[in-house]
């Protein structure tokens, strides 16, 4: 497979493929950076554009847009605390704190390095290890999803800086919000109060924009309107990462990439889970002097490494088994079939020239992303020099426009604003908006997993879990994390 894939490396060197990559990367970065507009939407918009392209060029366009879309979401997260995608929400915490301390360009340097290298490593896993790794995704059933969700929820305690109690209350609030909507198991509308808009539940995007961006807009409207976010008068041109930037955070990067690569293989887990696991892992490993929650570069390195580390491996089950791991992969799968290609091992056997060209294209797109992204991000960073009196209202307006543009649904706008006000007061009184988000994202995974686990195990979940090795490994990880937390607390006492 190694030799075979190398043969097709030169296929990407064509003007068409280069332009497709450039278009995909640019569209992905811009749409990903706009809160409310998501990478799947960007990819879906490109499908009709790709009709006249050859299958490999069309798919290079899609995968480039996917990789760049995930990274684009981090711009707004770091610079404005307005995550463009759900996979970049954790980056908003440390990233924005760094921006506030006048270190926006430093944050962008690390984020670009972590994302680009994460994407490239993930791309090589996709290229060389797809068939064996695809089988790993089949080890995950309801029991494993339930436990993965629990593992993710264990991050709440870590990301609630200050009071763990308030963090847990925030997480519980998120879990409660996740129960709103039509129940998958009975078709009963739960807590919808006869509002049609609530039947599909509380959306992740309005929640992220509300809790982070809208609340941030409100906060910016306070205080002296003439000051700016970063406290800087001009931005540095030192935009390219150096060894001096990377070496101090090398282990954080490696842990982040590892989390991304592993979680990526699990269908439906994705960047939004990987980044929280990576982030909480970093916090647990905090050394004296580390300032998590106040702009710790190690935290940003880990979250940024993990969310792009996910991208390549999340395409593996889609290409090899026809099982897309997320909405973006599902749209790419749709594009694949429109161009007459069927996913599966037959694709590797019958059309190696297409599949390997696409995979090399994905890696090349990550390289191209490095150049386009850093330049775009520096342009974006100018916003941090604008006075709060302008930026605050702008963030509020863009939050409203972004949510409406993303869903064309006024319910979502009201919901976002309500959650924005909630997020604003939560921040003020030391509660954790990140905890609410984690509860909301992981609640449905845990609930569906648990209820299906009860059905298939005849209400004997523990006996069932003990018969499944992957479940046991995840369970041991959870127990290990809890034990580690107690040990750390005892030591600090």
């Amino acid at each position: 497979m190694f030799d075979e894939s190398l043969v097709y490396l030169l296929n990407i060197v064509s003007l068409n493929n280069f332009l497709a990559m450039l278009l995909g990367v640019s569209v992905g970065l811009v749409i990903g950076a706009i809160p409310g507009l998501s990478p799947p939407m960007a990819i879906a918009l490109l499908i009709p554009v790709s009709f006249s392209f050859s299958p490999e060029t069309a798919l290079i366009l899609m995968v480039s847009c996917f990789a760049a879309g995930i990274y684009g979401g981090s711009f707004s997260a770091i610079l404005m605390r307005a995550p463009g995608t759900s996979a970049s929400a954790a980056s908003a915490i440390e990233g924005y704190e760094l921006t506030k301390r006048g270190k926006a360009i430093e944050a962008i340097r690390i984020s670009a390095f972590a994302s680009v290298v994460g994407g490239i490593i993930s791309g090589f896993f996709l290229l060389f290890l797809s068939p064996p790794l695809a089988l790993v995704s089949l080890w995950f059933g309801p029991a494993e999803y339930f436990l993965i969700a629990l593992l993710g929820l264990s991050a709440i305690a870590s990301v609630s800086f200050g009071s763990v109690g308030k963090g847990l209350i925030s997480g519980l609030l998120g879990l409660c919000l996740s129960t709103v909507g039509v129940d998958h198991f009975s078709s009963f509308p739960r807590f919808t109060f006869d509002f049609v808009g609530l039947e599909s539940g509380i959306g992740i995007m309005p929640t992220i924009i509300g809790l982070f961006a809208f609340a941030q807009g409100m906060q910016l409207c306070e205080g002296d309107p003439h000051t700016n976010i970063s406290g800087l008068k001009k931005l540095s041109w030192r935009i390219w990462p150096t060894l001096g930037d990377v070496l101090p955070v090398k282990w954080s990067l490696i842990r982040g990439w590892f989390c991304g690569l592993v979680v990526g293989i699990i269908p439906a887990a994705g960047g939004s889970i990987a980044q929280w696991i990576a982030y909480s892992w970093e916090i647990r490993r905090a050394k004296p002097g580390d300032k998590f929650g106040e702009g710790e570069i190690k935290g940003l390195a880990a979250t940024e490494a993990s969310n792009n580390g996910v991208t390549g491996t999340s395409l593996i089950p889609m290409f090899v088994l026809g099982i897309p791991g997320g909405i973006s992969a599902a749209v790419i799968l749709g594009a694949l079939t429109i161009h007459g290609l069927q996913p599966g091992m037959r694709l590797f056997k019958n059309h190696p020239e297409v599949i390997y060209t696409i995979m090399w294209g994905f890696i090349a797109a990550n390289v191209m992303m490095a150049f386009v992204a850093v330049i775009l991000a520096r342009g974006y960073a100018y916003l941090t020099l604008f006075p709060r009196g302008i930026i605050g209202p702008l963030v509020i307006v863009f939050s409203i426009v972004g949510v409406y543009a993303g869903s064309n649904n006024v319910y979502d706008v009201w919901l976002m604003m309500g959650l924005g006000v909630l997020g604003y007061f939560m921040e003020k009184y030391g509660f954790s908006p990140a905890g609410v988000l984690l509860g909301l994202v992981l609640g449905p995974i845990a609930e569906d997993g648990m209820r299906n686990l009860l059905i298939i195990s005849d209400d004997q979940p523990l006996t069932f879990i003990m018969g499944r090795p992957v479940s046991i490994v995840i369970l041991l990880c959870i127990i290990g994390i809890i034990a580690f937390s107690f040990k750390k607390r005892d030591n600090s006492v």
Partner: protein, 330 residues
């Protein structure tokens, strides 16, 4: 006094211009559609209907002669958009088209949903595509490789076999509910809330023993010889799977389930305008290039309109109301 301030002259000029303005507006009114058409997808981007809409829009734009814009309006299991479509104004919203999915839209029959809309709330123009359900098992599963063997095994081992389906009330859940209601002794465990991808993940990973889904998504998996289709839940065999029997052929029980997409316009839209839209939709569906693209996606186009479509939808609603899946034990 300036000549242009003269009232007489003003009236004269208006009188001179007005007939031309009226003529041009009447010419515009005769041409329909005379501006961009918005096509509402009741789901977020990325699903099957979204894919079909985006694939179809450029071809429909050519036959209508105006741009066609795809707008996603997800939420409420489709009902955020459908509630709006039911209230579209025949005059103001005459450039709107919407996608309605069946049997999903029939969730209004579930009394728990407290939904006041019904089939009469919509102006159904034409069917677009129909994707029959299939039941599939793992290729090589020694216990069953045909529907007959599957039913016999389930009857001999009630409540042991696990079938992965979508949400409660989805077309594939209704198909299983229907079998449980009309095949004596047929009782399976249902794993709920899964999209097509997760169903396969559970089947291949041996969490589930069988899946219920729609043909279009699963054809590639049959070609890979991993998924064995045991029955098509259509009235006839599917053209893509000529050797796979229908449910009634293999079991003697009629179990007809599918996912269908129908296009709607504003309720009360004039017959002429509805006719223009329907004709353009059909012409676009007949475009050979479009047909080939849908064929590649294994999507079966379905041009049914008027009384035939109405009878079809009413029949379907009758079946759903009879099965009352919402009252069935899980």
């Amino acid at each position: 006094m300036s000549i242009f301030k003269s009232k007489v002259l003003q009236v004269f000029l208006v009188g001179l211009v007005l007939p031309f303005a009226m003529l041009s507006s009447s010419v515009q009114a005769e041409k329909y559609p005379n501006g961009p058409v918005t096509m509402v997808v009741p789901w977020k981007p990325g699903g099957g209907t979204d894919r079909t809409a985006r694939l179809f829009a450029p071809y429909l734009s050519k036959t209508l002669g105006v741009p066609v814009k795809v707008v996603n309006m997800g939420g409420g299991g489709g009902w955020v958009a459908w509630a709006k479509m039911a209230k579209w104004d025949a005059k103001k919203d005459d450039h709107m088209l919407g996608w309605v999915n069946f049997p999903h839209m029939l969730s209004y029959l579930n009394p728990k949903m407290k939904n006041k809309n019904n089939l009469d709330s919509f102006n159904f123009l034409t069917g677009h595509s129909l994707d029959p359900c299939i039941w599939g098992v793992r290729e090589g599963d020694k216990r069953f490789q045909t529907l007959k063997e599957f039913i016999a095994y389930v009857k001999a081992h009630p409540n042991e076999i696990k079938v992965s389906v979508g949400g409660f009330g989805s077309d594939d859940h209704q198909a299983v509910a229907f079998a449980e209601k009309f095949i004596p002794g047929f009782k399976v465990k249902k794993i709920f809330g899964n999209n097509d991808a997760k169903k396969l993940q559970e089947l291949y990973g041996k969490t589930a023993d069988a899946i219920g889904g729609n043909i279009s998504y699963f054809v590639p998996h049959m070609l890979e010889a991993k998924l064995r289709p045991i029955a098509v839940l259509g009235k006839q065999r599917a053209s893509q799977l000529p050797t796979v029997p229908t449910f009634v052929e293999a079991s003697g029980v009629q179990n007809f389930n599918f996912a269908a997409r129908v296009l709607v316009a504003a309720p009360g839209l004039s017959a002429e305008k509805s006719k223009v839209l329907t004709a353009a939709i059909h012409k676009a569906m007949d475009t050979p290039e479009y047909g080939v693209r849908e064929l590649k996606g294994h999507n079966t186009l379905w041009k049914v309109q008027g009384a035939e479509l109405k009878t079809f939808l009413e029949g379907l609603a009758g079946t759903v109301a009879k099965v009352k899946f919402w009252d069935l034990p899980k």
